[in-house]
């Protein structure tokens, strides 16, 4: 989940915000218990609430690179971990360009030529639509707690905020791309502050920051997510949620190649 796509990320945030209610319970009724939470419980809290959920959202993606700056507006539908459909609404040139994720498969639809292109697994670490998100961010299905060993490596005040720092290292058998992930989660509402991703040599690769926590779709969640690749200083991608609705009824069949090609 740490590697979730923007959408999944956001979906996750709302899940996190669900867990946030649990957090309140902790805070009000059992503060010590909360302080003693295991990392598994923290991760599971997110994961459990995440599963089986669906969402429909609109967000703006701002991409800044050394050579150009772009602003995309995207709508997305998600269901559980298995299904995602994203469609670009703006700019005009790319209107209707869409991405469908079903389990581990990823397709892009290109309205200009009216063709669907399957993204090969060799390009999973490639950029999604020119952003600093990878295709892998979109297809990752399993939860962090399943793929990684986890451990609370810090608990307490950092920069004036009471936080958990959880460090994840891949399980031997897990097919994951990161060598290490460090997550920083705010204790009082279990909203993540940032995630840092490292390669196999434990060299930091990118940082994801979560901010602008506000109520949206009935939940409190960070509505801004920014990715900063360390190898390209000055470049970043930020995702700003405009609107999100949770727990709608979406049939699995909605996530079809036929729907991928719809222009609306």
């Amino acid at each position: 989940m740490l590697k979730g796509p923007p959408i999944m990320k956001l979906r996750k945030f709302f899940l996190i915000s669900l867990s946030f209610s649990a957090g309140w319970v902790c805070l009000f009724s059992a503060l010590p218990v909360c302080a003693e939470m295991t990392p598994r419980e923290i991760l599971d809290r997110v994961d459990k609430m995440w599963r089986g959920q669906s969402s429909y959202g609109t967000y703006v993606m701002n991409i800044t690179t050394a050579n150009w700056k772009r602003k995309l507006q995207i709508v997305s539908w998600t269901k559980g971990l298995d299904y995602t459909l994203m469609r670009i609404e703006y700019p005009k040139k790319e209107k209707g360009v869409a991405t469908l994720k079903v389990h581990n498969n990823l397709w892009n639809y290109l309205p200009k030529i009216n063709r669907v292109v399957k993204i090969p697994s060799s390009l999973m670490m490639g950029s999604w639509m020119g952003s600093h998100f990878t295709n892998d961010d979109l297809v990752k299905e399993s939860t962090l707690a399943d793929d990684y060993h986890y451990e609370i490596t810090f608990s307490g005040l950092r920069d004036g905020v009471d936080i958990y720092e959880i460090t994840l290292r891949p399980r031997e058998e897990a097919a994951v791309v990161w060598g290490k992930i460090v997550i920083c989660i705010r204790k009082h509402d279990l909203i993540p502050l940032y995630e840092e991703f490292f390669d196999e040599a434990e060299k930091p690769v990118r940082k994801m920051e979560f901010s602008d926590v506000k109520k949206m779709g009935g939940r409190l969640l960070p509505t801004k997510l920014s990715v900063f690749p360390y190898d390209k200083p000055g470049e970043f991608t930020e995702v700003l949620y405009v609107d999100i609705t949770f727990d709608l009824e979406i049939a699995d069949s909605f996530f079809s190649l036929r729907n991928l090609k719809k222009k609306e």
């Binding site: 991409i63 690179t65 050579n67 290109l110 063709r115």
Partner: protein
């Protein structure tokens, strides 16, 4: 002086069998060496040609820094002005663009290197256009030619539709439909596995780029021009760009060809050494056979130096005769191999050697470079190999020589 020539000539033909055997051995060696040099140089030329003419060209020009970071943003502006400068300087040149994109046909897709070329100019530089396994080269807009393994990976054949998706220069999504018009034969691992080629105009449209090139590839008008000097002249004319020869760009391939060069010379030395032994043996025999006779000549007043000159003259005659025969036969053989080649396609379809394609049909070259060294070498070797018997002969004591059995 003419006495020596007469005497030497007669001496040679006194033992005809021995002379014929020597002549035969030396001419055969020479003829084989000439033909062998021709074949070897032919192979080198072919490898060098394939290393350059099926890829980079002989010289490449880039914006500084491009070679470290092959980005579509490090471009050469208005490449035709650069090309005009190059053409004035006695070279041919073609612009290229290189980028990355996803190529897809039906359910198959592959990450590929996209090479945009100017088909008309590229034909002047490289031989991609005739190195096709199937189909034809890029001719019309929308035509693409695929590397052999790309075609296999996409399960694409000539006539199939190909989708290419890229990130255009402005960050937007570039995508278009193309038609597979040809599939290359094996060229190099890189091209076979990951390259698709399209016209420069199609590339510019796909990537949303203007009148720029990421690379300008250059070929000499004549292969006798010195490549390094040409590079220096181009660099002086285009100080703001980076000019490199293919040897600088691909040191591994360059080193391998040089190494092959060395191995050829080692073989030369072995063959020549054998030739030298034959000559040495013949001369030694002819001296020892005539010890008594040489003793008589000394007894009637010939000085050691005169004996030495006589034997040397004999050798020179013998060598000149061998050269006359060997040169004729060897050059004829070499010319035959130059024209018709050595067709090994019964044994192999050609193979890739350190990333360079060697073709199954092997052609020799016949140039002064391949013919003269064997001649000079055999001449020097015969003179050197006669030194010992000649020295031995002129140190003979007439008294001992006369009674020598």
């Amino acid at each position: 002086m003419t006495v020596y020539l007469k005497l030497a000539w007669r001496n040679i033909w006194r033992n005809r069998r021995r002379t014929y055997i020597t002549l035969f051995a030396m001419s055969l060696t020479l003829a084989l060496m000439i033909a062998y040099s021709g074949l070897v140089w032919g192979l080198f030329n072919q490898m060098e040609r394939n290393a350059t003419l099926l890829g980079p060209g002989e010289i490449q020009i880039h914006r500084p820094g491009y070679l470290d970071d092959r980005s579509i943003y490090r471009t050469i502006d208005s490449p035709e002005t650069v090309i005009a400068v190059l053409e004035k300087g006695g070279a041919r040149a073609a612009p290229r663009l290189q980028g990355f994109g996803l190529s897809s046909r039906k359910e198959n897709s592959l990450g590929t290197q996209i090479l945009g070329i100017d088909p008309r100019r590229e034909k002047e530089i490289t031989t991609f256009y005739k190195h096709l396994a199937y189909g034809t080269f890029i001719d019309e807009p929308g035509d693409v030619v695929l590397g052999s393994k790309v075609a296999a990976g996409l399960d694409a054949a000539v006539g199939d539709e190909l989708v290419v998706v890229t990130q255009a220069a402005d960050g937007s999504i570039g995508n278009d439909l193309y038609r597979v018009t040809g599939v290359f034969k094996s060229i190099s691992e890189e091209i076979d596995r990951s390259t698709i080629m399209m016209s420069l105009d199609d590339f510019r449209q796909l990537f949303g780029m203007g009148n720029v090139a990421t690379e300008i590839t250059v070929r000499r008008n004549s292969t006798t021009d010195n490549l390094d000097q040409l590079r220096d002249r181009i660099q002086a004319a285009l100080p703001e760009l980076e000019v490199k020869t293919w040897r600088e760009l691909f040191p591994a391939i360059s080193d391998m060809i040089d190494l092959a060069d060395v191995s050829i010379y080692i073989l030369y030395v072995i063959v020549y050494f054998a030739a030298a032994l034959i000559t040495l043996n013949t001369m030694l025999m002819s001296v020892f056979e005539r010890i008594k006779e040489l003793g008589i000549m000394m007894a009637i007043g010939l000085r050691p130096l005169q004996i030495f000159t006589l034997i040397l003259t004999e050798t020179i005659f013998l060598t000149l005769c061998s050269i006359a025969v060997g040169l004729t036969v060897g050059t004829a053989g070499s010319l035959y191999l130059t024209r018709h080649g050595l067709d090994l396609s019964v044994f192999t379809d050609g193979f890739t050697f350190a990333g360079i394609v060697a073709e199954a049909h092997w052609f020799a070259v016949t140039t002064p470079e391949t013919v003269l060294p064997p001649i000079v070498f055999i001449f020097i070797i015969s003179l050197l190999s006669v030194l010992y018997p000649a020295a031995k002969a002129c140190r003979l004591k007439p008294v001992d020589a006369l009674v020598f059995q």
